[in-house]
């Protein structure tokens, strides 16, 4: 199980909020990426927190600077809308792109990316919110509902060629109360893609219930790392000691 650091970036700063809102600055993106790399992180996920809303791609300079010193996989998300955006992200040094809003607006983009760059390059990103005993997919960084049922949507992303799913619980995001396990299990059952889970991690005990048969492929962690609640070494130790 990979341990992935998530850096939400706005105006050149790493920021953190609750339910993807109420943002607070926590550091410099290249410094934090380098710090987590030296602490043995498995992967870095850069998320442009506002790109989708304001139509811009501000993250590529940060990525290319980070890539000179960070030698683990880098995923970039937020505002990826076209093959050109993907090309730029990869040229900057990203290994994968995560697409959410643009996929909802045009699912064909996922298959175009998969065809040109391979499925391993395209992460289907889902922001899920609980609604009437199920989950609805949200876009534009958790602001816009889509009427899409998350469990159906994940299958369509997989069928279109997504090689990985990043699942964020908007309800649990920033709360440090643990992952939304019902959501995690429902989505894992629905897809054969590797699933990385995001939103809610606060302490090691939160991992106990996911060390089952069908573990996620990765844990995406933001606030707990930024606020030094848990060290990467501790998390990796827990993962190592609980997995066969």
């Amino acid at each position: 199980m990979r341990v992935i650091a998530r850096l939400d970036v706005k105006n050149g700063h790493v920021i953190k909020g609750i339910h993807l809102e109420g943002l607070r600055k926590v550091g410099d993106p290249t410094d934090l990426a380098q710090k987590y790399y030296l602490e043995d992180i498995d992967e870095i996920f850069f998320m442009d927190a506002v790109a989708s809303l304001y139509d811009r791609n501000g993250l590529f300079d940060i990525i290319s600077k980070s890539c000179e010193r960070v030698f683990v996989p880098i995923t970039v998300g937020g505002g990826i809308r076209s093959l050109d955006d993907v090309e730029q992200a990869l040229a900057a040094g990203a290994d994968k792109v995560a697409v959410n809003s643009a996929a909802v607006r045009n699912l064909g983009l996922i298959s175009e990316i998969a065809k040109r760059y391979g499925s391993q390059c395209i992460v289907g990103s889902i922001d899920a919110m609980r609604r009437d005993g199920a989950w609805e997919a949200y876009i534009d960084n958790g602001r816009e509902p889509t009427d899409l049922n998350v469990v159906d949507w994940v299958k369509r992303l997989e069928d279109s060629g997504a090689g990985e799913i990043m699942l964020t619980s908007v309800d649990f995001e920033g709360t440090f109360r643990g992952y939304d396990l019902d959501l995690v299990f429902a989505v894992q059952d629905a897809t054969s893609c590797p699933v990385v889970i995001s939103g809610g991690f606060g302490k090691i005990e939160h991992l106990n219930k996911i060390f089952g048969l069908s573990q996620p492929s990765g844990l995406v962690i933001a606030g707990a790392l930024h606020y030094n609640k848990v060290s990467i070494a501790c998390i990796k130790d827990a993962v190592l000691n609980n997995l066969v």
């Binding site: 030698f71 683990v72 996989p73 040229a91 040094g93 290994d95 760059y117 090689g163 990985e164 054969s192």
Partner: protein, 220 residues
């Protein structure tokens, strides 16, 4: 010592190049056959579908390079799909011939023989950090690519297809979802690794350094 990274339009060459810089290696990224043959060692990267990668390889006229590499005995390291190209064929999307320099066929991970648990759900692609099972006996016997790397070291894999661990050119295997596959292979001066050393942190950099320094003691 000059290292050439073969550029034929597939793969994240910048990451690979960035990873060679801290090693103090003189490296070039090129598609020019003469410039590449002027290097002491070559790296063959590759990302994406095998058939597409092979097509680009052929279009770039690299079969000529391959012949020269073999004739001149230039050490070459294939990475991920670049490694797979060295084998006989792949059935990704359609059956495509490889370079046939190593023996074995590339097949989907869940089609490999020797799966231990057939009921276990195999999530594909395999995107994970895995141990590579080499032995100290192999290290003593000259598996220099892994020299001074701990047997507990993990490397970053991202792939849906692989070669059987039973291929006679396999040096070390890894296991994903109970499936054993070839993680590292070699014959003479040709090497291949299924994982991405340029994305595998300090152990990956160490392996690239081992490749760059390999055979140095025999040089004048």
């Amino acid at each position: 010592m000059k290292l050439g990274v073969i550029d034929y339009g597939v793969g994240n060459l910048r990451s690979l190049y960035n990873a060679l810089i801290p090693l103090g290696v003189e490296a070039i990224v090129s598609s020019n056959i003469d410039r590449l043959l002027d290097c002491d060692k070559l790296i063959l990267p590759g990302v994406g579908a095998f058939s597409y990668v092979k097509k680009r390889f052929d279009e770039a006229g690299l079969d000529e390079l391959t012949t020269e590499v073999i004739v001149r005995d230039i050490p070459c390291l294939g990475i991920c799909v670049g490694m797979q190209l060295l084998f006989e064929s792949s059935n990704e999307f359609e059956t495509t011939c490889g370079l046939g320099l190593l023996s074995g066929k590339v097949v989907r991970l869940d089609e490999l023989d020797g799966r231990e648990d057939r009921d276990c759900k195999v999530r594909i692609p395999n995107v994970s950090w895995l141990k590579v099972n080499f032995t100290t006996a192999q290290l003593k016997d000259g598996l220099d690519l892994f020299s001074n790397i701990s047997p507990d070291a993990k490397f970053y894999f991202v792939h849906s297809y692989a070669v059987s661990h039973a291929s006679k050119d396999t040096d070390a295997h890894s296991t994903y979802a109970g499936i054993k596959f070839c993680a590292s292979a070699s014959r003479d001066k040709l090497f291949g690794v299924q994982f991405h050393p340029e994305k595998s942190g300090k152990n990956g950099l160490h392996l690239l350094n081992n490749f760059a320094k390999m055979g140095k003691k025999n040089e004048k």
